[in-house]
Symmetry: C2
Subunit: 257 residues, 2 copies
């Protein structure tokens, strides 16, 4: 009753061949795109899809499940299936698994998360420093103020702070990704018993970012963001799970592994 009784080994390299059901998935997507169905529009019934495509309802359901997992469709029990927004929430499962799965031996996954967020936010903040609504500053200050008060709201304010900046730049994808990274980082960190962020220090760093934005200096803004993330990394290094480990060179066999 072990995992599997046959002599399968991990070193199987044979790739899964193109599946039939993948074809169904494609057809459903094409249906949405061809008819230009907007987000929220009702999809055909499972039954009518089955008839149109010429497969059983069971196969349709499996295809729909796959699309649902990607946020491409949204299913409501007893009501119908609708076109989804393909928002970043759909990737949460993916990214969280990716972060956890090889996590036991490689805490660097957590670091990757932080690193990508830093890259995007650095550039994003630079651009916002060059051009932003005047009201933004006040909104950011309000977040910082909330962060100064300890409590569960501090984390929320932290996330809102970053989201405000990312939203300001106007790149939806970038904004959603950074939000996703924030959420997954938080979830993975909590799971590994990592450090809870220290609100006062974070507030201080955030204030520095606001100051840079006020001055309109793009490079200063980028610098402030870098320092913010430096501190997060430093805190992580002191955490229970022993920090991230060093960056390893990609291809060469010089170090690491």
């Amino acid at each position: 009753m072990a995992t599997c009784q046959c002599k399968k080994d991990i070193r199987e390299t044979r790739v899964a061949r193109p599946q039939r059901s993948e074809e169904i998935t494609k057809q459903i997507i094409d249906l949405i795109v061809d008819r230009q169905l907007p987000t929220g529009a009702p999809m055909p019934t499972e039954l009518s899809l089955a008839e149109d495509i010429g497969v059983s309802r069971n196969s349709i359901r499996e295809a729909v499940k796959a699309l649902q997992a990607l946020g491409i469709v949204e299913v409501r029990h007893g009501y119908g299936t609708f076109v989804g927004s393909a928002g970043s929430e759909a990737l949460q499962t993916w990214l969280l698994f990716r972060t956890r799965s090889r996590g036991s031996t490689d805490a660097g996954r957590l670091r990757d998360l932080l690193e990508v967020r830093e890259m995007i936010e650095t550039e994003l903040t630079s651009r916002v420093a060059r051009d932003h609504r005047p009201e933004l500053i006040g909104e950011l200050q309000a977040c910082v103020a909330r962060m100064r008060r300890k409590g569960p709201d501090a984390a929320v304010a932290d996330r809102e702070f970053h989201d405000l900046i990312c939203a300001e730049a106007g790149f939806d994808l970038a904004r959603e990704l950074t939000g996703l990274f924030w959420d997954v980082y938080r979830a993975a960190e909590g799971e590994m018993g990592g450090p809870v962020s220290s609100a006062p220090a974070t507030a201080k760093r955030h204030q520095a970012i606001v100051d840079a934005l006020v001055s309109g200096d793009a490079e200063a803004a980028a610098h402030a963001v870098h320092r913010h993330f430096d501190e997060v990394r430093k805190r992580a290094k002191a955490g229970r799970y022993g920090g991230f480990g060093e960056a390893r060179p990609a291809v060469s066999g010089s170090a690491a592994s």
Copy 2:
């Protein structure tokens, strides 16, 4: 025989409630994490999963389909189900749909793709400029040389060029994401009848990036990357689908781009 005969409207806001089957998905993931099954490890049979969890094989299959869509498991017909790598290929469907779906009215989705890639690659290249293997330069030069020769290989060399730099930094997630963005951009561009890249101009920009890397000047490297993407944007603007449209401010109607 229309899309749906009932009077559903697009403005449905009711959110889908937590589904039972989502629970099954979670249990399967937990199984992988708890047993620390590495990528490629065989999963229990659908039948045994059904017995263990106490649901029908049908439900298991739907859950597995969802996980398969995210690359968390890999199913091989007639052989078994295996733990997947959760690689970025899984997101291709997601991102391509996201880019295409609102594409007809908003070509800005394509721009978002490019923009995020630029942000990540700018930062990544800066870091690589500060520290990289000496062999990297030669490898990059080889790519540039291939790009100078027109033909289908030029695009491949283009992708390899970027991938080499991203790999050098050692952040897997960043590397996979930029690769994903490249692929999806290419696919979406082709679909919209966009411009094929002009190899000589691209090669020139890439050469500038290599030069910056040789000099070890992080800021120069960032600048070179920015100029590279500027050119891609310029080319896109001249494309058949009429360019990206301007950056829109997130909330207010004040300034732009």
